[in-house]
Symmetry: D2
Subunit: 350 residues, 4 copies
C-alpha cells in the first residue's frame, strides 16, 4: 500500500494537484467518535493556499465533503472518506515544463519510475496532496481529544532567523506561525525579500504531542520515534528530523543525557518523551528541517526529457517558503500517527 | 506486525537478550540468489560483542545457522530463517535491576505497556536484537550485489571529535570504525576515558547507498527518505536523522540548495540522492545522531516499581559508546530497505 | 485495513447504501495501462439495480467518475479513485426497522460490534457496497487484458433449477445470466414466483479465469485458492465455495483425482487450475453457493433492540434472488485477485 | 508477506520438509497469557507422522522448543518463536522425482514460479509445514481459553463413508478422528484398503468454534467467513469450504433459510454463526472437502523437466488419507483466525 499511512488507523490519500479532486479514506476509525465538520474545515483553512501574503496566490477554498462513515454526527466504524475538489486548476500552458525536469522537483524521478508523468504541476508529488492529510489529521485530532491528547507545531526558524520562545497562543496570530512575535515579523520580511529576489528560503519546525499516556509505540521496528521519523520525512521538503535532544546527544555524556526519574516524573526530557521506542508519559517533542522551496523564478540549469542541457525558468504561483503551511501538515501527521499507536496499544496486554 | 520491517522483502526478528536464541525470518526473498554463509558470518562478527577494547566484554560467538529457504546454495523463494543462540547469558543476580527502572532505558515503558517485563537485561529492547537485523542485512547485501548496489557507513563523530574525511578503506581498520585514522585514535581514547569515568559518550554516523538506480521509493508516505527515517530511528539510541544536506537546508536558499541537472548527472547532491521521495540515481547519503549509552556505572536517581525514589548503580558489561557497533546495523537496515524498494519498484510500470 | 482487498493491487472501498456516495481507491495500479471509461460504465450497468424484472426496483444510474490516477487516458501509477453518487436514497420512514433486527441481516451483529448502526437499509453491509468492487474489477480487467487474461461467470443453478450447459455467449442475453437459455427461462419464472410468494430463492454461480500463466499464487497462506476463497466469501450471501472438482473430491480416489500431465498439458482439471496453491496454466474454475435473499415480505419473528420478541415485516425494494446481480461481482473479485497475484509474481525470482 | 496469516495475531511459518527445521513466529501475542508447553506438545502429537496405522511411517517426534516471547511462564508481548527440528530426513535417493513432476503435487508449479525447486519431498509445499501452524494454533487456543472460546473438528466423511453423529468425546479415541465409533471403524478399513490398492481416499471435515462473542469479523473484505475460507483453503488438499448450511442454501428459500431471532437466541443456525461477516454469538460451524492424497503408489503419467512424457512411480512414505491428520490443522487455523479477530474487535468502538 504505497499511499497508506498507519496500520489500525489507516489513512489513504488520493488525487493530483491538477486533477478532478483530492481525497482521503480513513479505515479503522472506531465507532462513536463525534465529528465536528466546522473543526475539520478550520484545519483545512490553516493549510489552504492564498491565505496570506507569504503563501502562493493559487485560490482554493479547500471545502471538505464527508462522503461516508459518519451517521447522525458520529463515526460508524466504517471507512470515513472525505473529498476536496480542485477549483483553481488554472488552465495555463505547460509547454515550458512538460518536457523539462525542474531542479529540486520529482519530475525526473517520476519519469524514471513510471515511464511518464502528469506534467501539470507536481501531480501526485505536489504539496497539494497534503491537504488530504490535514483532513485526516483533523479527524484524528477529534479522536485524540477523547483521550486528552493534543498536538501543536510552530515555526522555529526561517531564513536563519531563530525564534527565542514558543508562545503557543501567538502561533496562529502571525502568517509565519511563529511563537515569537518579534521574530515572526523578521521571518515574514525575510520571506517577502526572498520572493522579491525570485528565490526561496528554508526553516525549522518544532512540534509537541501532549497528553500521551505511557505505553504507546512498539519495541523494535515500529518505535514511536521510528514512526515519527517515517511520518515527518514523508512530508515533501523535510531533510532532517530530531527527537528530543536530537543531534545534540552526539556530544553529550550518559550522565548528562539520561533523564532521571522521580515519583513526580522525569527531571529532564532529552528523550523527547520516548524510551525504547515507547512513550514514557512525558511530552513528545521533535523538530524538523524544511528545505527552501525548489520552485524559484531565477533561471536554472537542467536537462530536458531528451537528456539535453537546457536553461529553464519557472513561472506560476509558489510559496517562497514552505514552513508556515507545513506546520498544520506536521500536526496532522503527528495526530494520525498517535491515533494509530493508541489503537495498537489496545492489543499489548491480555 | 510490530516486529517486521519491509513489505515485499519483509524482515521479522524475534528473541530477547537473555532468552534461548535470537532469530530472523526473511519473507519475500526472491528465488535464485546465491547465499554465502561466510559473508553472513563476517557481517555478524562486525557487530558481535567483545570484539575490541571499546566494546562490551560479553562474549558471544554469534554463530548463524540457516534454518530454511536455501537449497544447493541458492535461495528458493521461501522464507529464509536464521538462528543465533545466546551463549553467554551470564546467570547473574538481577535483583538490583528487577524492581528498578534504569534511566534512559525501556524498563519503565515496558512495564507500562505490557504490565511486566523480562528484567534480565534489556530483553527485547536490548541492542542484542540488532544482531538478527545484521544477519538479514547480510542477506540483503548479497541480493543487492546482483544489481551493483552497495551500502557503507562509518563513525563521523564521537565524543565531540569529528572526522575530517571518510577514507572508506580505513573504516574497518580501527575499532571505532572511522574513516579518518588520526581522529579514530582520539575517538578511541575518548571512549576509554569515558569508561574510566564510569560514563559514556555519543556520536554521529555517516552512511551511503551506492549504485541505486533512479525510480526507487514511493511518492507519498513511503518515500525513500521516509522509510530511511523509519529504519534509522528504529535503531535504539538514534535521536536524529538527516538526508543529504540535512539541517543545513534550514538556512539555505532555493537557488543554492537545488541540485542543477546536466547530461552527466547532478552538479551537487544536497538532495542526498532522493527527489520527491524517489531515488534519482545519485548517491543516497544520510547521517544520524546516536545518544551516549544509557548504561553508566555512576549512581543514578530513579524510582522503583512501587514508585518510590531510589538511587541505583548499574553493573554488568556495556559499551561505553554505541557508535562503532551500530555502524553495521545502519548498513543492515539500509540494505534491507533498499532490497525492499528494489522489489517494490518492479510493480510501478506495466 | 478492514476495507482493503489485495496487497500490491490493493482495493479499498468506502460508502454506505444510503450515504452521499460510494467509492473505491486502487493503490498499486502500475503506470501505463489504458483506461476505457465506457467499458467501466458497462460493467457498472451489469450490476446496477433496476436493470430487469427480476431485480430490485431501486433506480440508480451508478455513473462512475474517475477522480485521480489517470492522465491522458493512461494510469499514472498513483492511486486510481472512482466515485459513485447515491441518487435514489428514497427518503422513506425507517421507523419499522430502526429498532428491530432483521433476520438474516447484519443489523444485530453491527449493533454488537459498533455499539450502534446506520439503520437506513444495510448501510455498509448492503450489497450496494459491491458496486465499488465492480468499478475496481473493471479496471483490473483492463489491466489483465494486457496479459490475455479474462474472467467470466454465470448462474449455474437458481431455485433448484440447474443449467445443463454453459454457453458463454448466451449469458448476458437473459436476465438471470445463465448459459443455458432453456433453463434460464425456468429460473426467471422461479424468481418471479418467489417474489409473488413474498419469498426469495438461492442458487449457484460458476466462474472461470482464463489465460492465467503458471506461477501465480503463494505456496502457504496466500495460495491462489485460499485467496479465491477469501474473495468469494467476502461477497454477502455466499455460503459455500468449491475449487475445481470441489466437494466431489471427498469420495474420489487419488488415481482418479490426480490430473495426469502430458507435453500438451493436463489431461483433466480436477485441480481447477491450481496445484499447491499456484496456478498451473490450466483454466481456474470455481463455483459458489448464494443464499436466498434475507429480505422477504413475509412476516418474521425477531427481537428489537430492547431484546423483546417482535414480529416484523420488511417493505422496500429487494431482489428476490441475489444470484444474477452477484455474477458481475464474482468476476470483479476474481479479476482484482488475479491482478494482485500477477503483480506479486513479479517478485518470485531474481 | 507471503508466509504470514493474520494481522494483529500474525503467524509466520518457515521451513521445508527436508530442511534443518520448521518454525513459527507469532507476532502480536498480548502479554500475560499463561503458556503450557505440555499442551502445545500434545497438540503437536495429534498431527505428527507415524501416530497410527493409517498415517505415514515417517518418524518424527515433532518436539517443540520455545525460543522467545515467554518469561516466567507468561507471554511478554514480544514475538513468540517456536522451533521444530526435522529428525527423520531419510537420506534417500531422490533421482526418481528430481526431474519429474508428480501429478497432483506442486512440483510443476514451483518450477514455473521460482525457476527451480527443492526436490526432496514437497519442500515448502509439504504438509509438514502445517506442523508449525499446529504449534501456533496451540498457543492461540491458550489465548482463546481466557475468553471461554474453544475449537473442535472431526472427520465427517472418508472414502464415501459418512458419520451419522458427532460425539465429540469419541473423536480422539479412534485413529480417523470420527465422532461416530461405528463409522470410524469402516473409515479406518477403507483407508487400509486404499493403501493396499496403492491408492488413496478423500473425505470431509466438520468443525466448530464455540463461545465466540458477537461482534467478531469485519463487514466487507475481512468477514469472519471470508477469513475462514482463506484459512481453510490455505491447507493443502482442501477443495471446498461451506459455512453453516453451505451449498444447501442454493435450493432453499428465504423464509426457510433465515434464522429467526428470539430473546433466547437464534432458533436455527443456517448462518453458521455469522451474519454480514460478523459473529452473532451462535456456534460458528463449517466443513471442508479434502482431496485424496496425490502421492499414490500406482504408476502415473506425467512429464519430466524437459517436457517429455514419462511414466513415474512414487515411493516413500505417505498417508493414504489426509483427513485424520488435517483435523488438528483445521482447529489450529480456526484458533489462529479467531485470536486475530478477537484482537481486531478491540478497535471497533471508542
Amino acid at each position: 500500500m504505497n499511499n497508506t499511512f498507519g496500520t489500525l488507523f489507516a489513512v489513504t490519500t488520493f488525487g493530483e494537484s491538477h486533477g478532478a479532486a483530492l481525497g482521503v479514506v480513513i479505515d479503522g476509525m472506531p465507532a462513536g467518535v463525534k465529528i465536528d465538520p466546522v473543526f475539520i474545515q478550520n484545519e483545512m483553512d490553516r493549510r489552504r493556499p492564498g491565505q496570506s501574503a507569504v503563501s502562493t496566490a493559487r485560490q482554493e477554498s479547500d471545502t471538505i465533503e464527508i462522503l461516508s462513515g459518519v451517521f447522525e454526527g458520529k463515526t460508524t466504524g466504517t471507512p470515513l472518506a472525505m473529498l476536496l475538489r480542485n477549483a483553481d486548476q488554472h488552465s495555463r500552458d505547460y509547454s515550458n515544463i512538460a518536457g523539462v525536469y525542474r531542479p529540486g522537483h520529482a519530475d525526473y524521478t517520476f519519469d524514471k519510475k513510471f515511464g511518464f508523468r502528469d506534467y501539470r504541476g507536481g501531480g501526485r508529488s505536489s504539496g497539494r496532496e497534503t491537504s488530504a492529510r490535514v483532513a485526516a489529521g483533523a479527524v484524528a485530532k477529534l479522536f485524540l481529544k477523547q483521550y486528552g491528547i493534543t498536538v501543536r507545531a510552530c515555526s522555529e526558524e526561517i531564513a536563519g532567523i531563530k525564534a527565542e520562545k514558543h508562545c503557543w497562543e501567538e502561533v496562529e496570530k502571525n502568517p509565519v506561525r511563529c511563537g515569537d512575535p518579534e521574530k515572526a515579523k523578521e521571518m515574514e520580511q525575510a520571506i517577502l525579500d526572498a520572493r522579491t529576489a525570485c528565490d526561496s528560503v528554508g526553516g525549522k519546525i518544532y512540534a509537541e504531542i501532549l497528553g500521551v499516556p505511557p505505553g504507546l509505540g512498539e519495541p523494535v521496528f515500529d518505535k514511536f520515534d521510528a514512526l515519527l521519523g517515517h511520518a515527518m520525512f514523508s512530508i515533501g521538503g523535510v531533510k532532517g528530523v530530531e527527537i528530543g535532544a536530537g543531534f545534540a546527544v552526539a556530544s553529550s555524556r550518559g550522565s548528562l543525557n539520561n533523564d532521571s526519574i522521580t515519583p513526580d516524573g522525569f527531571v529532564s526530557n532529552h528523550a523527547g518523551g520516548i524510551l525504547g521506542g515507547i512513550s514514557n508519559g512525558d511530552v513528545i517533542s521533535f523538530r524538523l528541517a524544511v528545505k527552501p522551496t525548489p520552485s524559484i523564478y531565477l533561471p536554472q540549469k537542467t536537462i530536458n526529457t531528451a537528456g539535453e542541457s537546457v536553461e529553464m525558468q519557472i513561472n506560476g504561483r509558489h510559496d517562497p517558503c514552505l514552513v508556515p503551511r507545513i506546520v498544520p501538515v506536521v500536526e496532522a501527521m503527528a495526530a494520525i500517527l498517535t491515533a494509530d499507536l493508541l489503537l495498537r496499544a489496545r492489543c499489548s496486554k491480555i
